[in-house]
């Protein structure tokens, strides 16, 4: 355990490792399959950023809700979304979580509290807020965690949502996955003021910045943010996780030869990789058990996706209206 990090017991570490490893391996397998053209969907991989979704979701209850982005594989899996249905969705199959109509950018699993994700930056944030409003009315202490990237903080809708959530003390945790790039454009070319936390605090929300590789610290921050929301003692909170995208914006490859960023930039992040760090904190036996279980789970998801039928052509016109 790193010095100063909030304590997580062995059981929690194993749980975190399982989610981290699942997310990492799922996407590595997706990347490996990609060239076969079996996956009929643009993929925005979370590889390198898994700790954010895993740490936040580990602080949530099963009946809590998350909203995500087009880079949403990690949030979906970390919240407990069905891995088979997700892989089938990527393959464009009828058994997919969105019946093959959504693809990688529109993953959804309502039964496990995963609101549908969106390809339009920032657009799920107010929807998560509306969901939080309904949960507050429901009065069962459920909360929403809304994931979005640094790019979303350039959309007016985010600030509109922060204001309204704070005004109405809605039970929503805003989680900014700041990976430093909007597609290929660095923050230096986009933000006049680099201190996001100061901007958020001006809207009346408690806000903190966390190392996005430190899954234990992320989990601890989420636990303390969410607990008072459940009792209505406190409204929304904001966490900025500083992280790094290891692969290209969209697609399975690295892109350090493209010219907009260097491989040297990756090195400290790779050295701080949450998957490797947590792996080093659990017993070899636990590690082996988790990894073999996850490999089987991912393998099953691929088999399920491959064996599932595509939707009938008549499905084109279903679900236009409820």
């Amino acid at each position: 355990m790193p010095d100063g990090a909030p304590c997580a017991d062995g059981e929690a570490l194993e749980r975190l490792y399982k989610k981290l490893y699942l997310t990492r391996r799922f996407e590595e397998v997706v990347a490996a399959i990609y060239s076969s053209d079996k996956i009929k969907s643009p993929v925005h991989l979370s590889i390198g950023q898994e700790a954010v979704a895993v740490g936040i979701c580990d602080a949530l209850r099963g009946d809590d809700v998350v909203s995500g982005t087009y880079r949403g594989h990690a949030a979906y899996l970390a919240k407990g979304g069905d891995a088979k249905a997700m892989m089938a969705e990527l393959f464009g199959k009828d058994s997919g979580c969105a019946r093959g109509k959504g693809g990688s950018m529109h993953l959804v699993d309502i039964a496990h509290g995963v609101l549908g994700s969106s390809a339009v930056v920032g657009s799920t944030v107010p929807i998560a807020m509306g969901y939080a409003f309904a949960l507050k009315r429901e009065g069962r202490g459920r909360v929403v965690a809304a994931f979005f990237g640094d790019g979303a903080t350039e959309e007016g809708v985010l600030w509109e949502s922060l204001n309204f959530s704070a005004l109405h003390k809605l039970p929503i945790l805003f989680v900014c996955e700041n990976n430093g790039y909007a597609i290929h454009e660095p923050i230096e070319k986009r933000w006049a003021v680099r201190d996001l936390i100061a901007k958020v605090r001006a809207f009346g929300l408690p806000a903190s910045r966390i190392d996005g590789s430190d899954v234990v610290a992320i989990r601890a921050a989420a636990v303390s943010a969410v607990a008072p929301m459940r009792t209505r003692a406190q409204g929304p909170s904001f966490i900025e996780c500083i992280t790094y995208r290891w692969r290209e914006h969209v697609g399975p490859n690295a892109d350090f030869d493209a010219g907009y960023r260097s491989r040297a930039e990756l090195e400290p992040w790779a050295a701080a990789d949450a998957v490797a760090r947590i792996r080093g904190m659990i017993t070899p036996a636990a590690c082996q058990a988790i990894e073999s279980e996850v490999e089987r789970q991912v393998g099953d998801a691929v088999s399920f996706a491959e064996q599932s039928p595509v939707p009938a052509s008549s499905e084109l016109k279903t679900h236009v209206f409820a």
């Binding site: 093959g100 309502i110 339009v120 799920t124 929807i127 998560a128 969901y131 409003f133 236009v320």
Partner: protein, 366 residues
């Protein structure tokens, strides 16, 4: 209002009973009855709870249902639209109110990219049962950004329903149907319709979407009038009657879904179709209606078409120009006359009769 024949209200036992009620009061009554029936319904939007209550259309709701279910918002149309979508996905029944339709341009991302698509792109696992109310303004300097009838933008997008009732009866029945609908419904109102009265049943009833209303029978010409233009077309039909021309007037009521069959049936009988929109003609509802009539699979006779709508300009404020911007009963009647008697282009309605038919215009101050 000439007649509201054609359809019977659901739950009203057939008879056209009820008091004369203003359009604005019919809206408020419909929402109040649904809020009473269904605790999931709530009303929100800038000014829904102020002393003016959206020209009176949310009158009484705050007192009866409290600030938990009737509340204002910051001027954050984008986020507040998404807010309603999220609440709807969670099982609530939001009614988002905008005092002008022009402001819906600030909601387009959420309405088009999220509300319209959520049910489809999430494989049927979620629904967005949400009503978006907005009002079209006209006259007394409403001008460029308080006057637009932008519903055809929403008609274009699968997954949205669009209704534009032209009388108090349909306002109540469509509102109740919209609230009970499991899909996002763009509910289009017109400011000048608010004080108009029609017989409206006291009890709740639904006006089914996708069924046009035959407002007036006639065998010489079919006129389709959308939103406020339905009323202007009825006035034009009176003027045409002076010239011995019997115009049939149809109000589509709902634009998406669109009941084109009723229009085709009438136009096949009269052989002449004039579509008068409360919007521009370019890529508008009138274009869609005429295209669908032209595409009809069975053609028993040829049909002559004409469209009218806003002048292809921005709406000016000065009355001197504004009166040239809108179709009016006199011009509608003249166009109808030319369709029926193409060889005789000189007719126009008696100016004094035409003046009597003109709509009472809104006057300030606000």
């Amino acid at each position: 209002m000439s007649s509201l024949n054609g359809r019977r209200p659901v739950g009203a036992n057939g008879a056209m009973t009820g008091r004369m009620l203003r359009y604005v009061d019919a809206l408020a009554e419909a929402v109040a009855q649904e809020m009473e029936r269904d605790p999931r319904v709530f009303v929100y939007g800038l000014d829904v709870d102020d002393h003016k209550r959206i020209q009176g259309s949310t009158k009484g709701l705050l007192e009866r249902f409290g600030p938990e279910r009737v509340f204002t918002t910051p001027l954050s149309e984008d986020a507040m639209t998404g807010f309603g979508i999220g609440a709807a996905m969670a099982g609530m029944r939001p009614i988002h109110v905008h005092i002008r339709m022009d402001f819906l341009m600030l909601c387009m991302n959420q309405l088009v990219n999220m509300a319209a698509k959520a049910h489809y792109m999430y494989g049927g696992t979620v629904g967005v049962p949400m009503v978006v109310r907005s009002m079209i303004g006209k006259s007394w300097g409403q001008g460029a950004q308080h006057s637009q009838g932008l519903y055809s933008m929403f008609m274009h997008v699968p997954g949205l329903k669009v209704v534009a009732p032209s009388n108090a009866y349909d306002a109540k029945g469509c509102m109740i149907a919209a609230i009970r609908d499991d899909n996002p419904v763009i509910f289009v109102e017109h400011r000048l319709l608010y004080p108009t009265e029609a017989p409206v049943p006291v009890e709740p009833f639904m006006v089914e979407f996708g069924r046009a209303r035959l407002m007036r029978r006639g065998e010489d010409l079919t006129i389709v009038g959308i939103s406020n233009m339905a009323v202007e077309c009825l006035r034009a039909a009176e003027l045409l009657a002076d010239a011995g021309i019997a115009a049939e007037v149809i109000d589509p009521v709902s634009l998406a879904p669109l009941d084109v069959d009723t229009i085709i049936q009438s136009a096949e009988q009269t052989g002449r179709l004039l579509v008068v929109d409360n919007a521009w003609t370019n890529c508008g509802a009138s274009a869609e209606i005429i295209a669908r009539v032209a595409e009809r699979p069975v053609r028993n006779r040829s049909i002559r078409f004409e469209r009218m709508g806003f002048a292809p300009t921005t709406c000016p404020t000065t009355p001197a120009l504004e009166q040239e911007f809108y179709p009016n009963p006199s011009r509608i009647a003249a166009a109808g006359y030319r369709l029926v008697r193409p060889g005789d282009g000189s007719w126009s309605p008696d100016p004094r009769r035409a003046e009597l038919s003109y709509q009472v215009q809104f006057r300030g101050p606000f």
